[in-house]
Symmetry: C2
Subunit: 340 residues, 2 copies
DNA sequence: AATAGTTTTGCAAATGTTTTCATAAATTGC
DNA sequence: GCAATTTATGAAAACATTTGCAAAACTATT
């Protein structure tokens, strides 16, 4: 706001320094091609001298885009979301947008409150995580009609363009693989479904696919644990220490699988001879375990990038293609699951 | 901007609906205690009916704070930064701020450009990662005098309040531990120091501490690798497969150590009997390995939270205490490093 | 050198708020 | 029931810009 002399530097002070009118300075930034080369130079010098920095807030009240996009994720510090956010941010940065980032911790109330905040800032677009959201959330978006995308999960009939993987399909793929390898004694380790349609879709699909093949997962082999290596390690360890052990453990995501792998090590079980473990996600590092984790890749970076590009396009051109995109999951077979 | 009827809804339309003047509506939001209860009710109803959402952009040009803080990290999708950002975001959210997040990928040019963007948005505060930045960056901050904190690394004499761990000390601590356990054949695996004062400080301290104890690390045992499990695994595997093996490997951070651990598994080496491996960071999950990773904890969450609180305080009260804070690193001894 | 045409610039209104100051309304004391 | 306070509201200026329109400054043409 102030240059080295402490004077505030606005478009007017620049205009004075360049001996032109404020309008001309405005044009210098917004339509430079309308200016004579010499005035352009003069203004450039004045801008530098005054240390002037454009004020987007003042532009925004003229209906000009704010250049911000609100990104709302459950938590930032989970590999998956961090990757999506990184890719998203990079993609929209190329188009000149900056992201407002917030996390709601799976709390619908907070999600609504944050969304309101985003709208107060007059974000040009909104990216939410997952398909399911409070009715109030959708109403708010509808009423303000801000371009919106839903990331991470994919469904053809989602309310807003969804860009992500079909989590149901992912669950199906991994269980089919496990079945194909001959496993019939299968346990599951899921993330809690509350406020998390991705987790819900996966566990549903896994259980259904197994059931369809005649494999029923007993109640005490259906474990649920928060998204955390240590928690899943504890749970899996308990499972492995019990009298009857499954031949395979299907985990709702790779983090859970990581915990399970460590639990197996602690329990003295060798992968994949003593126990098969699979995950969903193919997070950074999942390929590096010894043996590598068999999983279903959900292309986080691709999703983030694509979501960002779609949203940026929708903002720049309201008539742009607003259909979602399915970033197909992909079975990645490594050494952690063997045939029986 | 528009309610369900497509009419734009601003403070004036609300005023009309409530049959009061715009000033009164403004007061309803900013100084509700000045209003009569009945008018307050009337306005409340009108706001709801019109679906009005405050416009921070319009407030901001009145010199009112924008309610945003610019956070600039090298990359978002590395555990450490994700954790810091999460904690930071939570802390400032409590004070009503939303973060503008961007990553520069260790490119000073981009850092400067992003900073400018932040300032265009009239952020109320800025959080940068690390102590070292381009002269231009500091000049820009200086000229706009925006409250600023430097996160992650700590130094008493930093240009702006720094809140983080003393990375030099961390490097010292881990190498002292390794030395104390009797290791003399020590190899190192560092992250590249370019544009990364944290990495630089650590490797410097490690080498110095070892040297001071009379342990010289031969050139071909000083490995450098990008921040990636797969890369460090490759490098460590090469090291472990060579004719002469060190008794201990000190890694610049836990991610690198993770790769090294997998490399050991692949090379058929048992931890800690055949090789000792240590890291720096104590990232999520480092405790769960079998055996757990001996490392130096850098309290990411505490740093993020503290940085957020300090910055928020500095914004709200320009005379607030602006000294940094040292979140001391802490040696965490687990099973991955044994005495010789 | 005058005219017509084109390019460049400035004026003034507009944007959505906040805030100061003044006025109107309500409350109190008598 | 009236003046003196106190409280609640409105009018208008201010904030930092953009933009439509008109005026001024150039160029090209004759």
């Amino acid at each position: 706001m102030s240059d080295k002399n402490g004077k505030k530097s606005d478009i007017i002070s620049v205009a004075k320094a360049a001996r032109v009118s404020p309008s001309t300075v405005s044009r210098y930034f917004n339509h430079p091609e309308l200016l004579k080369l010499t005035t352009r130079r003069r203004i450039e010098k004045a801008v530098r001298k005054e240390g002037y920095i454009r004020n987007r807030a003042a532009q925004t009240i003229h209906g000009i885009r704010s250049g911000t996009i609100g990104v709302l994720v459950p938590t930032i510090d989970h590999t998956i979301f961090a990757e999506v956010v990184q890719a998203f941010s990079d993609a929209v940065a190329e188009e000149g947008f900056t992201i407002l980032l917030a996390s709601h911790g799976y709390d619908p109330q907070r999600e609504y409150a944050i969304l309101r905040k985003f709208l107060e800032h007059r974000v040009d677009g909104i990216a939410l995580t997952g398909l399911d959201h409070d009715e109030a959330v959708f109403q708010l978006i509808e009423s303000q009609d801000v371009p919106t995308v839903l990331m991470w999960n994919y469904a053809e009939d989602s309310l807003y363009p969804s860009i992500g993987a079909d989590n149901e399909l992912a669950g199906q793929m991994i269980s089919q693989h496990v079945l194909a390898l001959g496993h019939r004694e299968v346990a599951c380790l899921f993330a809690p479904g509350a406020g998390n349609d991705r987790a819900k879709a996966r566990s549903r699909a896994i259980l259904n696919t197994l059931a369809a093949a005649g494999v029923a997962v007993p109640q005490d082999w259906q474990l649920t644990t928060v998204y955390s290596v240590s928690e899943s390690k504890r749970q899996a360890f308990a499972l492995f220490s019990s009298a009857k052990r499954p031949t395979a453990l299907i985990c709702g995501n790779d983090i859970l699988a990581t915990g399970a792998i460590y639990a197996a090590a602690r329990a003295g079980l060798k992968l994949p001879d003593d126990i098969s473990i699979v995950g969903i996600g193919d997070f950074k590092g999942s390929s590096e375990f010894e043996p590598g984790l068999t999983t279903v890749r959900l292309p986080a970076r691709r999703i983030g990038r694509r979501a960002g590009m779609t949203l940026a396009a929708a903002i720049k051109d309201p008539k742009a293609d607003r259909t979602g995109a399915h970033c197909a999951p992909e079975l990645v077979v490594r050494g952690s699951c063997r045939a029986i």
